[in-house]
């Protein structure tokens, strides 16, 4: 009895569904792109994805960028070529395996055209490979490891076609920090601390190298671990080594501990402290307060100007807080680059159907020059590096002025 009922229901359903499916077919478009095309029928969305770290200890890094992308979409009224823009957000967990699963989930939808991400370089290595093989493009706002694009003018180990970034190659920032320390501050003995993150380790490494090339001496290249709280021993070592400057391109809260505890170490008075963009945040300035006075930060040139102010206004309006990290503008630029490339390369049919040619899209991006973004003038090279190569160093003079005040207090500009 019940079995029969089940069968009846099933057959009925299948019939309904087949009928529904038979409605509507349209004429074909000849796709000659070597890696394929995406067809977006009228009314269907153009799909892009964000692959960012949105959970765990580095959640703010990814969340900030997702917001940047969302604002970029809002700025276009949520539409591109008359199609709604559909954004999927995936978590890259800031790890290789997280990047893999996230990327696989994204590419499993053949309609997705491009990815804004990842947050972390480690996640980018497998993710860029997966997206590259699937024919997508990926633009990251915060990957900085040289191996993703180029190292010393050569293709990096993890380079993949279709990978771009609006963030700086560490090579640039490390060199900027070293130049500033050696030439501007006149420091001859420096120390560096990283925290075992590929980003911080890479940056510290470049700093050490360039500083020594300039003729300085790295008296201690050391490291701490994420989660460490007691920095006094490592600071004692550095003081004993006689360093005049410490470069620690690490994150919160370890960075806070270094600054706060350095005041308690004998022999640490007069040693310059220098962080990087990982510490350029409101919570850091608030946390170190007066103790952080006189500290330097290297980082990409802070976006400024009326467009950026407008952007920040939208951000605050939409999310109820000030930008929480330093990469929202990079992500915003990345998204806009992608939209522009789609607009320029897509084939639009009369009925509104849009065809996006994947290789053509990539080629367009590789040849993109002088794109005006919030972070400056972006031009992509053959390795996918698109960032405006301007790095600035800022100094914390007035903690009460917060991150805004700090960003404006530029003491050095580096352009290779």
């Amino acid at each position: 009895m019940s079995t029969r009922r089940l069968a009846t229901v099933t057959i009925f359903m299948v019939m309904v569904l087949i009928l529904a499916a038979c409605v509507g077919r349209r004429q074909a478009f000849e796709c000659d792109d070597p890696i394929g095309c995406v067809e977006v029928p009228p009314g269907e969305p153009i799909k892009i994805a964000a692959l960012q770290a949105i959970s765990g200890a580095v959640a703010s890094l990814g969340t900030d960028q997702v917001r940047g992308v969302e604002i970029a979409i809002d700025d276009r009224g949520g539409e591109l070529l008359g199609h709604p823009i559909d954004l999927t957000v995936e978590d890259d967990l800031c790890s290789a395996e997280g990047g893999t699963t996230g990327a696989q989930k994204i590419v499993s939808d053949p309609q997705v055209i491009g990815i804004i991400g990842t947050s972390c370089s480690g996640a980018a290595v497998p993710a860029s490979q997966i997206m590259s093989e699937a024919g997508l493009v990926m633009i990251s706002g915060s990957n900085t490891s040289p191996f993703l694009t180029s190292l010393g003018g050569e293709k990096g180990n993890a380079w993949q076609p279709g990978y771009f970034r609006t963030a700086h190659n560490d090579e640039v920032q490390g060199a900027a920090a070293a130049n500033f320390a050696y030439n501007e501050l006149g420091v001859r003995k420096a120390a560096s601390i990283h925290d075992g993150d590929p980003y911080t380790q890479g940056l510290a490494m470049v700093f050490n190298q360039v500083f020594e090339e300039l003729g300085g001496e790295i008296v201690m290249a050391t490291a701490v671990n994420k989660g460490d709280t007691d920095m006094r021993p490592v600071l004692t070592s550095i003081a004993a080594a006689g360093a005049e400057l410490v470069f620690f391109p690490i994150f919160q809260p370890e960075g806070d501990f270094i600054v706060l505890q350095s005041k308690e170490i004998e022999g640490f008075e007069g040693v310059y402290l220098m962080g990087a963009d990982g510490l350029l945040s409101d919570t850091f300035v608030e946390s170190v307060g007066e103790q952080g006075k006189g500290m330097y930060f290297s980082g990409p040139a802070s976006p400024e100007g009326p467009e950026y102010d407008e952007f920040v206004r939208k951000y605050e309006e939409k999310y109820g807080e000030k930008p929480i990290q330093a990469f929202h503008a990079h992500a915003y630029d990345a998204a806009n680059m992608l939209f522009k490339a789609i607009e320029e390369t897509a084939v639009v049919q009369d009925d509104g159907t849009v065809y996006i040619l994947r290789q053509k899209l990539r080629d367009y991006l590789y040849n993109l020059k002088n794109f005006q973004g919030l972070t400056g003038t972006l031009s992509c090279n053959e390795f996918g590096d698109c960032a405006d190569p301007k790095i600035t160093v800022v100094r914390l003079d007035d903690p009460a002025a917060g991150i805004e005040g700090l960003r404006k207090n530029v003491v050095f500009v580096y352009e290779p």
Binding site: L17, I54, T101, Q104, K105, P126, N157, G196, P198, A223
Partner: protein, 607 residues
Amino acid sequence: MAEIAPVPEKAPVIEDVRLKAPEVSLERAAKLGGVAGIVAVFVSANGMVQAFAERDIISGVLSMGYTLLFLVPLIMAYLAAREPPVLEGFEAPEKGPRNVLAGLIVGALTGLIMAIFVLVASAVDMRRVFINISPQLLELLTFGQGMGGLVFLVGGCLLTGAVGGLMQLAEGRWRRALWGALAWTLLIGLLEVIVAQLFRGLGLGFLSPLFYAGTGGLTPLGTAVVFVLAFLYYWSVVPKVDMWQRRYAHMPAERQRSVRLSLTVAAVLLVAILPQVLGPFVSEVLDLVGIFLLMGLGLNIVVGFAGLLDLGYVAFFAVGAYTTAILTSPASPRWSPEMSFWAALPFVILAAALAGIIVGTPVLRMRGDYLAIVTLGFGEIARLLLLSDWLRPVFGGAQGILKIPTLSIGPIVFRTPVDMFYPIVGFCLVAAYISWKLKNSRIGRAWMAMREDEQVAEAMGVDIVEIKLKAFIVGAVIASFGGALFATKIGSVFPHSFSLLVSITVLVLIIVGGLGNIPGVVVGTLALVGLPELLREFQEYRLLAYGVLLILMMLYRPEGLLPSKQWVRELHEEELMQDAWLKMEEDRRRAQAQAAQGDLPARPEEA
């Protein structure tokens, strides 16, 4: 000296009486109602209701946020309305309005507590401390109707409470079918992406828009179809499973074998087409499940069989991954022999065995928790060494090792996750075979004996040192397979992939699956690695749910999802030790009595 009381002349022989069944306790219902209220407040205050308010399960009708909120009184009411377990010698309880009343009490209390919460939250701004008690949340909770909306909130709680109570009145088959249908509807609603992919994979892509609305969530039609199908399944198919099993048990051995064979063939076929149908993303998840499964199988030998609590198991995984990386990658910093995966495999095994000995030897004399912390230490040491600047010339430090070639056999290259599924399954089968084979051998018995009582095992001629080292070595080698596959699959290795969390996850999954049992490890891995990956939408609440799940699991089903008999025994040892024997004595007496009447042989048969 006291006078001795008189004693009845004949020994009193009392026949068993039927004792009156206890009633559903309303007091307990009130308690559970309080708990439900607190849970509901918690779910709201930590932001879940709001975070999932946008995500629809049934498009335009029911959001995930509300589902979460109202599931609380529903489940609690159901539990509160359940009668206490029927003990031997007691009458079966009767169902009635009291069950529903208990459900209503739960609903009422939940509603009341939620209402108080809403009133307090709207009167006092607590946002500085509780960041998620926002105006938007209050709006959601009052259904956008201002304080008048509280009527809906309380009404909803009452309604779900009553439904929970009513569920208890339903006869067993109905009850199961209703719960099953409900669960499947929610699940299908949640797994939108995967189901859509499944449709595509089966060539039924046109079905998706009928089931799912473009804005997320099931369409009303989809909901109805899923609910009805699931209901029918539980109504008509599930009850038959028992019957099929019984029928199978009564088949002659030959028929059994052919049934088994055909089931195996079906399983193999299923596994073979599975990744093709499910597409790259689910395959990716399955690959990950497979890699964790390998580790689970290995750790199951160490913990489940040999009883050595290892919290640093990830070290062996790392050894496998890094050995593979160094030997196969052209980008390995110091040595790069650029071997193929298969040429590197023997070295991987060797390195893992060596690591097993290195970890195993110092801990030979340690037991239990000492072992746990020391192995944890080894796991951390391994990770930190891989990460260190000191060994960066060999392991690449934080930058890891890149460019690990993809796996290939001759001309076949396993590039995509769909391809990788097959070698991973292959390795899993090998590992499962190894653990099954060892379990039923001299060595497996020695492990189990050692787990039960190390001293006695030693006194029975088991060389504890040898057998412990063997457990560590086999466990290490199996984990290193996982590591090797991980490295070649991801194409790069970074020290961050080998954190303590991995060790803990693997330990947890074998225990949740059912310690000491190979199928249990499979189920545990699917549940704890597969499901969270599929439910990526839960984002940061995943680990919260994970924690709750672990606690509930251990409280209510400590033997795991698919337990081994031994583990069940151990968990219920006290009861069983005392009673199994009592029961047997009783059975024997009965059997003897019957034998005296000439019915049955005087030997107790196993039930």
